[in-house]
């Protein structure tokens, strides 16, 4: 092994590998294997990061990556041929880079796609670049770029399932790459493997972890029925929620900021922070490791900051989970049970059923449904 790797000292490089192992939930004994995967490549693996009907929130979230940092990812680990928010090139120069990569790195590059893909009105609702004076639409871009990629990462809920733009599908035709909400049949019809990394936005660790897993193993990580890596999306928010005990005890917050429903350490007078399910929290039906991984260098997370989970990693998000501030209706919980056979392969579904039964029990006894039922 050389003294330095792509401008990093050996020690710094191994620190990056160690941090990456942590993201992946791997033992530090995997550090040499990760180092081998990253170092073993003759050149940095090329990446095309393209954007459809997006808001750039996924890219901004990726900028918040800590271990490894975004500078290490961009300059040391991967070769970002096209990333519209950071790259120097504009216009035809930038478009040419995409074309060259598709042609010269066929089967070698990672495509990260951010945003939904619309197909109404000849795809004109999302376009970038021009060819012969005509806009190049994203429905064509996604096919061209994905077909020649080694693997595709559908970054964010819009790319994975259609997300918020899908709530206006009647007008624009927005879909995810492989999925249209919970149903198969998205905008990408080709055969290149697609891994979904949903979230609005996704945690940077989910993206980096998925990419590094792929580089290490040359295959996509184990995924659930919605194409999400089980290592990040294997359990519900509710399974690991710090307010689970309050839920079990039937203690539910009814008024925002009410000191009588907030723990002393958080400025209230209650024995603990009350569960937010009556305020509409979608934690019980949402799969991600937010309660453990948390956000922004692990400073906080939505429920930790006294806000609800809005279910942003779910294929139903947004329209299928509206209204966000009404408690998850009983019928949906029964729905999970009645369709359990269909989603039985999803890791953790048994827990969800158990939860459903428990919550239904609480509704039945008036602990959730009734006014002040916990008092």
């Amino acid at each position: 092994m050389g003294e330095s790797f792509k401008g990093l000292s050996r020690r710094d490089f191994l620190k990056v590998c160690g941090a990456t192992a942590t993201i992946l939930g791997l033992s530090q004994s995997y550090v040499p294997q990760i180092a081998q995967a990253i170092e073993g490549a003759a050149a940095k693996p090329p990446v095309l990061w393209l954007q459809g009907q997006n808001c750039t929130g996924c890219s901004v979230s990726a900028l918040n990556s800590n271990h490894p940092s975004i500078a290490e990812i961009v300059l040391d680990i991967l070769s970002f041929r096209y990333q519209p928010n950071i790259m120097a090139a504009s216009g035809d120069q930038a478009i040419q880079v995409i074309k060259d990569t598709i042609k010269n790195e066929k089967g070698k590059y990672v495509l990260i796609w951010e945003g939904a893909v619309p197909d109404k009105e000849d795809g004109l609702f999302a376009a970038f670049g021009e060819e012969n004076g005509k806009p190049m639409t994203c429905d064509k871009w996604v096919t061209e770029a994905a077909d020649s990629a080694a693997v595709v990462i559908a970054m964010g809920t819009c790319a994975a399932f259609g997300g918020i733009p899908r709530a206006n599908q009647a007008v624009t035709g927005a879909k995810g790459l492989l999925f249209d909400g919970t149903a198969k049949g998205g905008a990408y019809k080709g055969t290149t493997p697609v891994v979904n990394v949903p979230g609005c936005p996704p945690n940077p660790d989910w993206l980096i972890g998925t990419v590094v897993y792929y580089l290490m193993n040359k295959k996509a990580p184990d995924v659930d029925n919605y194409g999400r890596p089980k290592m990040f999306y294997g359990q519900t928010i509710h399974d690991n929620c710090e307010r689970r005990a309050a839920f079990e005890a039937g203690l539910y917050l009814e008024t925002w900021g009410d000191p009588a429903a907030i723990a002393p350490a958080e400025g209230g007078t209650a024995t603990q922070n009350y569960c937010l399910v009556k305020k509409g929290c979608k934690g019980p039906i949402t799969y991600s490791d937010c309660p453990i991984r948390r956000w922004n260098s692990r400073t906080s997370w939505p429920i930790g900051a006294h806000g609800i989970c809005i279910g942003c990693t779910q294929p139903e998000f947004y329209a299928g989970l509206a209204p966000l501030y009404e408690k998850v209706p009983e019928v949906n919980l029964f729905g999970i049970q009645t369709t359990a056979d269909n989603i039985a392969k999803v890791l953790g579904v048994a827990v969800a059923i158990g939860l459903g039964a428990h919550l239904v029990g609480n509704f039945a006894t008036g602990r959730v449904g009734g006014k002040g039922g916990d008092k």
Binding site: K6, S59, A89, G91, A126, F128, H306, I310
Partner: protein, 517 residues
């Protein structure tokens, strides 16, 4: 005459396209067009109005804080709540944290590559260990024959800074800024749960209560970031703006429309009250800095003649419509509508705010650079207001600490009768507004006049250019294959939408293809 097309314009948020006509090396005309549409105003119809506060944040992953604030102000207004002081102050802290992350990101990561020749780093001859590390990094990329995403790029023009010491220092600050801006998002997450997209700002206030511990957690991050912002970011902008970049300012690259508008930002008294904000609201007409007028929201309208919408033109946002038609004939060229104030285009953003604020420190800085709008002046205003905001955050933290047990939310039930609400506030990059109508607990109409719409909107119905289009006119483009001054001006407005600039031969309508290797 050559017509230049840059598509896409990168290092911005979103999908924007700008075309310019160049004659004798100078831009004669320009067109700005947004090339993407999702339809937030349509998809939120019929939904619970409280959802809008979460969902409309996702209009923009960069400007999400502002859209959330505009939305909550609008829904607050419709619900008729009285936000308690602590709720208002915590919202200010969430909002301000984002500004402190956003402004340096814009300067270093989005704009700076237009002003420096990054390859000059290889010639750094000093012995500063930190700068030598930067040099080693860039040299190793060159040796590996993989300098993406720093290349390809426009060929450095006459204004680009080539001094190895200055460039290497700037690149080291670029790398520092990647780390420092994360502190702003951590500060935001401490009060808001995560960034981007906070989760606990709700109708009536916030869900989170202040504690001494949280203030302390916030403060140590904030003071670390504040120190770096003042001594590195602001210092860099001042040094570069009064030094190597002054020639660009002296050429008046990016003059603009000379009308400015601001809704004000950061409520100091009643939440949503535009008369009592830390950054004041107002308008300036024809660069008349002695006559700052009150801003009257009823004078805001949106034209759509040149936009891909079949809805009526010139509507006020409260009764606005959004009905897209991407194949609209008759010269339409953008998904962005064209907002007007009192029938005229107005520039919003840091320069508008600082020209209205007229803080002595800014006026002194403007005097050194030259008191007229330009790309460089916009960067200077952005840096200066960062400094002002840092001072005020300390005031808010003190207010919060003195009233630690105060209420944070006026939590009211969803009203079932017909209501209307307006939520307007300045964003880091311009003035942003949401208008909501509700009935029977559902949204019946929702209109957003985007921050960047003020600056990047296309022509008005009468054919008058929008602020960015006007600002590009006159920019020197000696080499149409390297329209660096065009992207300098475009990026100085910190666009939050996807953008492209085209170069076309108007006589033949043939697009001039240019490739730089």
């Amino acid at each position: 005459m050559a017509k230049v097309v840059i598509d896409p314009v990168t290092r911005i948020e979103g999908h924007l396209k700008i075309e310019v006509e160049v004659e004798n090396g100078v831009v004669k005309d320009a067109w700005s067009s947004g090339t993407m549409y999702r339809g937030f105003e349509q998809l939120i119809q019929g939904k619970d109005p409280r959802d809008a506060i979460r969902i409309t944040q996702r209009v923009c992953g960069v400007c999400n804080t502002i859209h959330g604030m505009s939305s909550v102000f609008a829904v607050d207004d419709a619900f008729g709540v009285t936000v308690p002081d602590n709720g208002r102050i915590i919202r200010n802290l969430i909002f301000a944290s984002d500004w402190l992350a956003d402004h340096p990101l814009h300067f270093y990561h989005l704009a700076a590559l237009d002003y420096i020749d990054i390859m000059a780093v290889a010639s750094y001859a000093g012995n500063d260990p930190a700068l030598l590390k930067v040099k080693d990094k860039i040299v190793s990329l060159v040796k590996a024959n993989d300098t993406y995403p720093l290349t390809p790029r426009y060929e450095p023009d006459a204004f680009v800074i080539k001094d190895p010491e200055v460039v290497t220092t700037a690149v080291s600050h670029y790398l520092q800024a990647l780390e420092m801006r994360k502190l702003g998002h951590e500060m935001l997450a401490l009060w808001g749960g995560r960034a981007p997209f906070y989760q606990n700002v709700v109708v009536g206030g916030v869900g989170i209560r202040p504690t001494v511990e949280r203030i302390a957690e916030f403060t140590w991050r904030f003071e670390q970031l504040a120190d770096w912002l003042e001594n590195t970011y602001v210092a860099d902008v001042v040094a570069l703006g009064t030094g190597p970049l002054k020639p660009i300012h002296d050429l008046k690259v990016g003059l603009g429309v000379s009308n400015f508008l601001g809704y004000g930002a950061f409520d100091e008294k009643k939440s949503g009250d535009i008369k009592n904000r830390f950054f004041r609201s107002g308008t300036i007409e024809n660069l008349d800095l002695k006559n700052i007028k009150d801003m009257d929201p009823s004078k805001i309208t949106e034209d759509v003649k040149y936009s891909y919408y079949k809805s009526a033109s010139g509507l006020k946002p409260a009764v606005g419509k959004t009905d897209p038609d991407p194949k609209k004939a008759g010269g339409a060229y953008s998904f962005i509508k064209s907002p007007r104030y009192d029938g005229k285009p107005h520039e919003g953003g840091p320069l508008a705010r600082m020209l209205m604020q007229q803080d002595p420190g800014f006026m002194e800085l403007a005097g050194k650079i030259g008191v007229w709008p330009s790309a460089v002046a916009r960067h200077a205003a952005r840096a200066y207001e960062t400094k002002m905001l840092i001072g005020q955050i300390r005031v808010w933290l003190d207010q919060l600490a003195k009233n630690i047990n105060g209420e944070v939310c006026d939590d009211k039930a969803l009203p079932m009768d017909a209501r209307e609400g307006m939520g307007i506030t300045d964003a880091p990059r311009s003035a942003n507004g949401h208008w909501v109508s509700i009935d029977k607990g559902k949204v019946t109409n929702y209109q957003i006049v985007n921050a960047s719409g003020w600056n990047f909107g296309p022509r008005y119905d009468k054919g008058v250019r929008g602020p960015v289009e006007e600002a590009i006119v006159g920019a020197p483009v000696p080499d149409p294959t390297n329209p660096t001054n065009v992207v300098r001006v475009v990026r100085s407005f910190d666009p939050c939408l996807a953008c492209s600039v085209h170069i076309i031969e108007p006589t033949t309508n043939e697009i001039l293809k240019f490739k730089v290797t």
